[in-house]
Amino acid sequence: MISVQGIGLKQGAFALHDVSFDVESGAYGVLMGRSGTGKTSLLEAVCGLRAIAAGRVIVGGEDVTGRKPAERGIGYVPQDGALFMTMNVRDNLAFALHVRRWTSVQITSRVDELAGLLGLGDLLDRDPAGLSGGETQRVALGRALAYHPHVLCLDEPFSALDDETRSEMYELMRSVRAATGCTALHVTHNLREAENLADVILRIDGGAVAAEAMA
């Protein structure tokens, strides 16, 4: 599960105080709010990419507040995918596994598994520069899932995609959830996206988060 407890953070003139919310284990939480309400800042705080002034972040029952991003066990998918441009798709998918010193047999097996799950089989030797928006996000998702994180954080991952590709991505996300069972925190301002994916919608407004369970 993800539990954000009384987080406070400050960035220039913008500040959030005492923000709390929970996403239960295996659930899909969608954090919604207007632009400038601090959705991305909160997500980055959960991932350890933004310093917090107060509060705690609990992931999978462990307090990860003081831990580096590398030690939190969170798969992160940013808005534009942010694929590593000097590596092909295969190396992007295998990146976290190389860092963890998996054997080449283990890496090949895991990359093939991810390629099957995300439909990337034909793209493995391609460079990121030649990929479409949907393909880029599928690779970014695979790269984040590669080392079996318990939690996935997605920051407006489908905002640059056309409607048809978005619908495909919703379907894909549902099959990824079924296959991995991971807990997700997904930032978006798109209501249709939230309705398609969320178990719980977390609305942030005026620094407070209100949870709304989906039927």
Binding site: C47, G48, P78, A82
Partner: protein
């Protein structure tokens, strides 16, 4: 034609863009023609005999090899310093950042002779003299040439590296951190490879700048033949004894070397970006 508001409108027409481009080309060509004319003048003044004469002299051959060697060594040293400084300045806010940013630009704006004098004074202080006595002679010796070149060339390499790191997306580095990397692993596996065209540009700038360095070398290293003589020193020495033909021949050699380095690094840069 009437719009819905009832206001009478006419089809909107615009004039030709030719005068705009004409002015741009005319203004720009002043500089381009000056540079071109300088090179043509050099080439027309020199004959193959002048170049052959210059190359036949052992002190000129020494200056060529010493220039090539010192510039390459300076470039390597400049990259070692410029890559970390450029990364820190481009990525992080820290106390003294503004001061550091201004300090690394000082060698760019200082008159070259002042840099030479400053180096001379530095190695005449107690710690400087202790270094020369205890480790190796610097002032008026071979290492002084590399230090003088480094003092200026590194500033240009730092500027190139700051803009190179600013162009790389910090988000990719953050992703690498969440995937299990330390800062060091993220830097060497993601950030630096993505900034490699910037590294090549910084190296090119540093090398070309070091090749042309003269003022600081004259003050800090002297102009001793077969010792601290680099190609700009050779031009100065030949001019000072009235041997203009040799000075121009050496100048053309420097132009050729600079153009070759420029073309090779451009080609390397394009190849890397293409790959």
């Amino acid at each position: 034609m009437k719009e819905r508001s009832g206001i009478e409108t006419h089809p909107h027409t615009v004039g030709s863009d030719k005068p705009f481009f004409g002015v741009m080309v005319a203004l720009g060509s002043v500089y381009v023609l000056l540079v071109g004319a300088m090179l043509v003048a050099d080439a027309s003044f020199t004959t193959w005999d002048h170049i052959a004469d210059a190359l036949s002299r052992k002190e000129i051959r020494y200056a060529i090899w010493f220039s090539l060697l010192s510039c390459t060594l300076t470039t390597i040293l400049a990259l070692w310093a410029a890559i970390p400084i450029g990364y820190l300045l481009a990525r992080f806010e820290f106390p003294g950042r503004g001061f550091l940013n201004a300090l690394v630009d000082v060698p760019i704006v200082l008159p070259p002779l002042v840099i030479g004098i400053s180096l001379l004074i530095l190695f005449n202080t107690a710690p400087g003299r202790a270094f020369e006595d205890g480790v190796t002679p610097i002032t008026y010796a071979i290492p002084s040439v590399i230090i003088a070149q480094f003092a200026v060339a590194c500033a240009f390499a730092v500027r190139a590296m700051v803009s190179a790191f600013e162009r790389t997306d910090p988000r990719r580095e953050q992703v690498a951190l969440t995937l299990g990397c330390t800062r060091s692993q993220a830097f060497f596996s993601v950030v630096l490879p993505e900034a490699r065209s910037g590294v090549i540009a910084a190296a090119m700038l540093a090398w070309a700048r070091a090749l042309g360095e003269f003022g600081p070398i004259l003050v800090f290293s002297g102009a001793t033949r077969m010792k601290t003589e680099v190609l700009p020193t050779s031009v100065f020495l030949e001019l000072s004894i009235g041997n203009v033909e040799a000075a121009v021949a050496i100048s053309l050699l420097m132009v050729t070397m600079a153009v070759v380095v420029l073309l090779v690094t451009r080609w390397l840069g394009v190849r890397h970006i293409g790959s």
